[in-house]
């Protein structure tokens, strides 16, 4: 079963809820996942379906309430929901809505609209609860409520939509289990309010960064990532696709330069890549080690690898100590290699460090003709950077780019850009590393 296509065990996926919130979950075998007011389900029940499937949680009355913990969400059954036109864009992000709810009536005027907060609701809570107990789907409940809602037809299209949306969020129990792409991860973080954590990145800025950076599966890229690993994840996806077997030939890699003792790539833990795969393709070096790498002589003096025979003759305690030292030794050698002998195929930066010095010092390690792309939340920091790079003959035509996606309410007959959207999204600096020519000799006049 292809884990990029179908829901599998021990996979991280992202669930879209009726509230348009997101939840990242791991599909542990025999486990259950609670979505709070939207219900709960068994992992085993959704495994094997295609990624992107929308499930409805329903209760047929056969479940036993948990006597020990009455607040625990009861676990229901799931069935695949056939989604129709979606309401995605009701001032929010996509969620499929069942076909029954999409035939909205329109009213030409808003005469009846004065305070949509207090509309009379035709059904009592008792009636609704009774309907629920009859195992009606949320769609049925809402349809009933619309029928009994006296002034529904007199509402404006807008307030009808708002009303439906509110009701939908209140009574629906469904979710969509999606592939956890870097874009989905970003959206999850933004919805959570972690805007600063991801440096105010947007999907469109990530996309443009990857394209301008010419990211391919066979490149060796130098990267500074202060987005907790989101940027590295987006690069890995572009280079290798989703959840990939670690058997892949040892081609492209990302060298992550970090300013603390250890890199912060926490978000990679949700990525479905194996530890081995990440180890093979992501190497981390601190700024200090990169700019002041260990000295080969000292490293070789400090440790000498033993031959196989010598190792096998070591006692068990000694052997462990030897391997620890060997690991250190190899890391030192790798650090020397990556900091000294590599000409990188691109420099990709999302950092709050002072960019003019950072970019120029790292830029020296980039091969000629390869792109340098630098993301920043603020245009002003890139402005300073471009002025510095412009004077440096090692960089060709630094420019600042901005890209913004404007989502529309995409309902036929009611097309318009969403009334509000997220500001921000950051800016990109793009240039190419070049190699200045020495002054040509005067006598080399060409004809």
């Amino acid at each position: 079963m292809n884990p990029n296509k179908r829901l599998g065990f021990n996979q991280h996926v992202i669930l879209r809820l009726p509230s348009n919130n997101f939840k990242i979950v791991e599909l542990k075998p025999d486990g259950s996942i609670s979505l709070g007011k939207f219900g709960a389900f068994y992992t085993n029940d959704i495994v094997g379906y295609p990624l992107g499937t929308t499930f409805e949680i329903y209760y047929d009355g056969s479940y036993e309430p948990d006597e020990k913990n009455k607040n625990r969400t009861p676990i229901g059954k799931v069935r695949v929901m056939n989604t129709g036109i979606d309401q995605s864009d009701l001032e929010s992000t996509p969620t499929p809505l069942p076909m029954e709810l999409t035939n909205k009536m329109s009213s030409a005027t808003n005469k009846e609209l004065i305070n949509i907060g207090n509309e009379i609701q035709g059904m009592t809570m008792e009636e609704i609860e009774s309907l629920k107990k009859q195992s009606a789907t949320h769609a049925e409940i809402i349809s009933k409520m619309i029928e009994s809602h006296g002034s529904f037809h007199k509402k404006t299209v807008y307030s009808q939509e708002k009303y439906l949306n509110r009701k939908k969020q209140k009574f629906s129990k469904f979710f969509t289990a999606e592939y956890l792409s870097s874009s989905a991860m970003l959206q999850f973080l933004l919805e959570k309010g972690d805007v600063q954590r991801v440096m105010d990145l947007s999907q469109e800025s990530i996309g443009m960064l990857l394209n301008l950076g010419n990211i391919r599966s066979n490149g060796q890229y130098l990267c500074v990532d202060e987005t907790g690993g989101l940027l590295v994840y987006a690069m890995l996806e572009r280079m290798f696709g989703g959840q990939t077997s670690s058997a892949l030939e040892d081609v492209g890699s990302i060298v992550v330069i970090h300013e603390n003792e250890h890199p912060n790539l926490d978000l990679l833990k949700f990525s479905n890549y194996s530890d081995q795969f990440i180890k093979n393709h992501v190497k981390a070096i601190s700024l200090l080690d990169f700019f002041e790498p260990p000295i080969m002589e000292e490293v070789k003096q400090a440790f000498k690898p033993l031959s196989k025979e010598e190792i096998s003759s070591l006692k068990s305690g000694k052997k462990n100590a030897y391997y620890r030292r060997l690991k250190w030794y190899n890391t030192q050698l790798q650090t020397i290699e990556l900091s000294k002998h590599v000409e990188y195929d691109g420099l990709i930066i999302a950092s709050t460090l002072h960019l003019p010095t950072l970019v120029r010092k790292l830029g020296r390690k980039v091969h000629g003709s390869r792109p340098i792309v630098c993301y920043s939340q603020f245009k002003e920091t890139l402005l300073e950077l471009t002025h510095v790079l412009y004077k440096d003959l090692n960089y060709l035509a630094p420019s600042i780019y901005e890209t913004r996606c404007r989502p529309f309410q995409s309902i036929r007959g009611k097309l318009h850009p969403l009334m509000t959207m997220r500001g921000g999204g950051g800016y990109l600096m793009w240039c190419h590393r070049v190699i200045p020519a020495p002054d040509p000799p005067t006598n080399l006049e060409t004809t």
């Binding site: 379906y49 995605s88 792409s181 091969h367 245009k379 901005e402 989502p407 070049v434 002054d439 060409t446």
Partner: protein
């Protein structure tokens, strides 16, 4: 490997390279030791490029003067290619193409349908990242041009990433068979090319005519993404109608706005300097003023002879000129103070097209057999 998919170190004979003359002037050349690249500033023999690393600046003394002229020789990338492109049609620019690729999650497992090929700009970006690109062009001349170009760039023969087909997909769909005009080389027993696309990009005047043909060529057991690229809002409406009819879901239309900024400098002109300058001007005029006043007074005082005798004083030139008024000051001149500012292009691409996205899962059945196996394995543990 193609000139686009290999990271090359040195410029070699036969390479496709891009010569960067200026931001708006990038020219593709094929490296040939016998050739010379000519610009209005001078000529650059290819021999001067060969053997140098990509990214090298090539300098010559300009014709008849002792100044230098420079070019840079770059290895092509889809983004640089887009800016150097011979426009056969409107092209899809990087802000749009990069967003589409990111949103459709393009990577080495993506199989893409692109219709039409057009100038082939987006084809190059797709080809860089995806497993396979099936590109369709209905216009014969454009098809031939694209075929030649893609072959030359190594996308078809060397990378084997792109299949180019001449086809009116609105009328005739996407299936590719041995008697079609296509770059695909059919095997003896191959009756139809297996397409199985999981990402589709339609840049057509009437995508609604093409959408019904997709069913047979898209992947059946996974979520498939579709993007239609249309300039007019009415096209979006008809597209959404067709998408809904054909069972596509998660329909959302967006517009992308890309902007580019120049980094500039604006002179810092302080208020004190401006006032000091006025003071200087005033002082310079004060003699004249005094003279006129005295003249005036003397007229009033009947002392006319005295007044006319006075000489007109020399007017001194302004001495204090802190902002260099009247002279041509170059932006960034170190004799003045400057503030760094950004300036958007004087003409922005305010609209390219609307992007209408949708998705579809044809077969939502569970993979029961595999799940059973998996569950049994779990039981055993």
């Amino acid at each position: 490997m193609s000139y686009f998919s290999e990271y090359k170190d040195l410029i070699e004979e036969g390479d496709l390279a891009l010569v960067w003359i200026s931001r708006d002037n990038i020219k593709p050349i094929t490296i040939d030791a016998k050739e010379t690249f000519n610009t209005r500033y001078g000529s650059f023999p290819h021999t001067q490029m060969i053997g140098k690393p990509y990214g090298s600046q090539i300098a010559i003394r300009t014709k008849g003067s002792n100044k230098f002229a420079f070019i840079h020789v770059l290895q092509p990338t889809p983004e640089l290619w887009t800016t150097s492109l011979p426009h056969r049609t409107q092209i899809v620019y990087t802000p749009d193409s990069s967003y589409i690729m990111q949103r459709m999650n393009c990577g080495p497992t993506t199989r893409v349908i692109e219709a039409g090929t057009g100038s082939g700009s987006f084809s190059h970006a797709f080809a860089r990242s995806v497993s396979h690109l099936f590109s369709y062009e209905f216009h014969e001349v454009r098809y031939q041009q694209a075929l030649k170009e893609f072959e030359h760039h190594g996308l078809i023969n060397r990378d084997k990433t792109v299949t180019l087909t001449q086809r009116d997909v609105c009328a005739n769909g996407f299936a590719i068979r041995p008697d079609d005009i296509t770059s695909h080389k059919f095997g003896e027993i191959e009756e139809q090319l297996s397409i199985n696309a999981n990402a589709i990009f339609l840049d057509l005047p009437a995508p609604w005519d093409a959408i019904p043909h997709l069913e047979g060529v898209i992947s059946k057991d996974e979520k498939v993404s579709l993007c239609c690229f249309s300039p007019c809002i009415e096209q979006v409406d008809k597209t959404i109608e067709a998408m809904e009819k054909e069972g596509w879901t998660e329909i959302q239309m967006v517009g992308i706005q890309g902007k580019q900024y120049e980094s500039r400098r604006q002179m810092i002109r302080t208020l004190d300097d401006a006032i000091e300058r006025l003071r200087d001007v005033k002082k310079r005029k004060s003699d004249g003023m005094e003279r006129r006043k005295r003249l005036c007074d003397s007229v009033l005082n009947d002392d006319e002879t005295k007044a006319t005798d006075e000489k007109r004083p020399q007017t001194e030139k302004t001495r204090f000129n802190p902002f260099g008024k009247g002279s041509r000051v170059k932006e960034g001149d170190i004799n003045y103070k400057w503030k760094e500012v950004t300036k958007v292009e004087s003409e922005v691409k305010s609209h390219t097209s609307y992007l209408t996205f949708a998705s579809k899962i044809i077969n939502k059945d569970r993979n029961e057999r595999t799940v059973k196996t998996l569950l049994e394995e779990l039981e055993k543990k």
